[in-house]
Amino acid sequence: MKLRGSCESFCPETETKMRIKEKLLNFYEYKNGQKNVPGLLVKEFTRSAAGVVTPKVKDMRTEECLVRTVEYLFKEICLDKRKPFRFAYDFIFDRLRAVRQEIVIQEFDSRQSVRLMEPMIMFLAYSLYTLSTEPIDNFDPKICQQHLQECLKRVLCCYDDLEKDPQTESLRNLQRRYFIEALYQIFNLGVFEALSRGLTLPLHVRQDEVFKLAFNISMDYHRGHLYRVLQNIPTLPHIMCSLASLKMQTLRRRLLALFSHAYHNKVLTVPVTYLIRLLVLKSPNVLFQQCRQYNITVSKDRTAVLFYKNDYNGDINTLKSMHESFVNAKLERINLPEVLLLKKF
């Protein structure tokens, strides 16, 4: 017998009462500007553990209510500028986890799960990029990546399940799927498992333009054709582009390692303008930073670089990922909630 929630508010009554009484409200759950006045509460994530009673029907939300909860989080909290984004992230991350938990407890079918989880994937991908420059104490990319991968795999399984059904999907739903399938390719760049999936997907997915672009990037990565990977990443759409850009520093490093061998010469130099173009960097200074890190000599007049294969430092850490200007330009132009909810592409 499947459990079905009956609660129509973001937070079940029992939890609301308890948390108000015990003063366990998050910053985003207080009424704006008023201290200690509860505003809108959203159900917290609690670990299911031994000794915890199975949740009652009234403590679980209906599917529609879960959809509204996700929309509320993205439309209101995500855009809340009172505190830095990482606070909003922590709050939303926890509340989405509670939503995911309910998907499992209530045994939602593939269609229902997909509808709720696709926006979560978008949010995690967006956060991974936006918070990538934060120190580890503020944001742990590992956990975020792990959740992103889990959500992606779950949704992909749902797609496969839905594919068994001859019932035709709406164009909108298909578009959402194409975007997520492409995002999976980008997140798992050149990974065998992802590439094999990409190769065996139904033709209608493989023929989608965005998917094709993402898949070809991953394939070029597999072939070792880094030039194409670097040049094509900036042509990806918004969130996908931001996710891909997290690999830029590794890609640049690998290309610089190649160049240290290929342009290996004590006298000959390679112009800065050329390298900036190939490495998709916005200014010479960023290039010099790369050179410093990997021990590559810059000429005295700072217009060229000297490659020498024995100098290149292969043991040092790759530079931390940064906010890329080509991504930021894209992100500035989007309506974030609409994109996260996959209402606009």
């Binding site: 496969d160 290309l255 290929a262 130099t269 112009p271």
Partner: protein, 395 residues
Amino acid sequence: MFGTVNNYLSSISRAAEACDGDTLGKFLSLRDVHVQNHNLYIAQPEKLRNSLKPPLDEIVTAHLKVLYYLAQKPPNYMEAYNQQATSCSSVVKLLQQLKDENWPLPLMYRVCLDLRYLAQACEKHCRGFTPGNILEKAADCMMGCFRVCAADGRAAEQDTKRLGMMNLVNQLFKVYFRINKLHLCKPLIRAIENSSFKESFPLPEQITYKYFVGRRAMFDSNYSMAVEDLSYAFAHCPERFTSNKRLILIYLVPVKMLLGYLPRKSLLERYDLLLFHDLALALKAGNVNKFDEIVHHHEIVLIRSGIYLLVEKLKFIVYRNLFKKVFAIRQTHQLDMGDFMSALQFVGVTDASLDETHCIIANLIYEGKIKGYISHAHNKLVVSKQNPFPPLIAT
């Protein structure tokens, strides 16, 4: 066969008393003729009176139920699978009971094999679970058998259940390859490699084992290991198993190509694999366009056999051969980068830019496929006077 149920049961009882694992395996197989006997389709075989000792009676009961569910119209694969899984866990019990005896191993092979077939049928015909889930569960059941076998360390070499390990490992490989969970193969390989009598497993099992281990090494980009294992499998597989030999070649040929060995046409002809001959010709000629065309044309075959990604890795060798031709034409050690770009454009990379050409050459130099360096200022590739394009076998 057998006529009545009682006749069937007493035959089983006799086989068990004689410790005849092969016959017992046959009597509990889904491929034996007895499965066509309608008298054996029984919904509740527990009610039959029989003299079989537990847990053999459980195995037989479950087997009869499997027959019953498969005889339904349409067949109830899901229930049949569940019963087979019960049968499998009873086999585990049977094996645990027997100390210093391994005669039921053929029975175990049979039950596990049928379990895998039924799991595959469920994946194909039933819905409402994530793909690969049933197969994974079947693998868990087989792991139960595997653990009993692997733990039997005290028995003498001819009586040890450890002799059953390789057969199970091969079955598990088949599942893991099918559901794309290759990382699960690692502990199995370790168990086999560490076993003291690795060489005493039957040859057919060793061939299958090497075939899968070789394929796994290939996916791990461990190409020399892959060649070693696959070559062993190919060399030892008897001539009469043409389709198996062909299967091995499908992996062996492209891996060897990646290491710089081109296949003989006569060999490919014999095994109906001329696709690789065409591919080798394009590769040799450095004809990128032709190469892509062949790959595209055989895309489905390449994807199905799981070598598409490997073949794609040959791309840089195609570039290397193309550039070698440029060198042969120009006959100089200072080669213009523009020539390489024109060559790329000539063979179908119409959008190739000078930047891209630089990057491709840089890649080849880094991998040691070209000896030399690029002078950006003069836009030239300066190649070594000795052996500028070393043979791939050496690199």
